[in-house]
Subunit: 189 residues, 2 copies
């Protein structure tokens, strides 16, 4: 039997992404967002949705760019904190003990300890009720060499990105690889 | 050391979502998309990006709605197949042996065997290079009663959504819950 949950922002999986920006004082700030995803392959673009009231919102608009730092499961506590505190009244990097690093292609900081970083140039905003979707063109993706597979590609089990479940509001690790895309279903073609 | 991958659509995690629509002949069709995510809480909206050339694209525009069926890991083969074949020249439900069910609130079919279904009314399209992001207002979320937790909420380990890793192009299961959001990082506040 299916149970109906009504009109709710509920879907699995959602990411746990830490959005980096410099505020008007030049202070490195981060906030956590679960409403986001890749939106286009060419140009490569990614979208993240923020409330307009967020301190990060005006920072990103002013500097025209942001980063996404993908936390691994070992940093769930810090990622959770980044989603609760506001950068208006505190320095979240200092409190967490994590290190801001300046991005290479955009005017924004990222979390040096996290395994995967996406640098984004803001190219479009889409108003959607209480959220604004900021669409960034991906300028570069940086991945820690320790989490690459034998082919030199990022290995999702090694990156171990934090996954968020809306509704139950739990964080999860990623599990085992169960097969290759564009291959597992070939026998049905 | 960080390795730079350049300007690529590469970020972890991405979902593996099966998009359902009826085509001009009334045939139930499905396609798999990994470029998507929740985009707004109020109204609750979700975005999925398709190429305009996809058979599903004109179907969704014509009927003004679509569904997202979230495959569990046990259906990785069928989900992979749905992403490779075109509904223009075959009946993907018939080939896969899965069952189309008519959605309750939108004019679109979903996959009856999958554990989580999101019914979406198309409210906006965003052009982004070779992809169009279709934004749907969530009309209802249905979840199989067998995959709810003790509080009656969908349990992400039990739903077992398929997770996709761009780059390596691997499918993964979701791992263990490692804590509660808005709680794990409270001691840093």
């Amino acid at each position: 039997m299916m149970k109906s949950f009504g009109s709710k922002p509920l879907a699995f999986p959602t990411p746990t992404w830490v959005i980096g920006s410099y505020d008007a004082d030049g202070k490195a700030n981060v906030m956590t967002a679960a409403w986001g995803g890749i939106v286009s392959s060419e140009p490569p673009c990614i979208g993240v949705s923020l409330r307009e009231s967020r301190h990060s919102y005006e920072s990103i608009l002013a500097r025209g760019g942001f980063t996404i730092s993908v936390p691994d499961a070992a940093h769930a506590r810090e990622a959770d904190y980044f989603g609760m505190a506001s950068g208006r009244d505190r320095d979240k990097f200092a409190v967490s003990g994590l290190t801001p690093a300046k991005a290479e292609f955009v005017d924004a900081p990222y979390v040096a300890e996290f395994p995967m970083i996406i640098e984004c140039r803001l190219i479009q905003s889409v108003e959607l009720g209480i959220h604004i979707q900021l669409i960034g063109e991906i300028a570069d993706v940086k991945v820690n060499e320790d989490v690459l597979n034998a082919d030199g590609k990022p290995d999702m089990e090694l990156v171990a990105p934090l996954i968020f479940a809306p509704g139950a509001r739990t964080y999860h690790t990623v599990g085992k690889a169960i097969g290759k895309a564009f291959s597992l279903g070939k026998d049905l073609l």
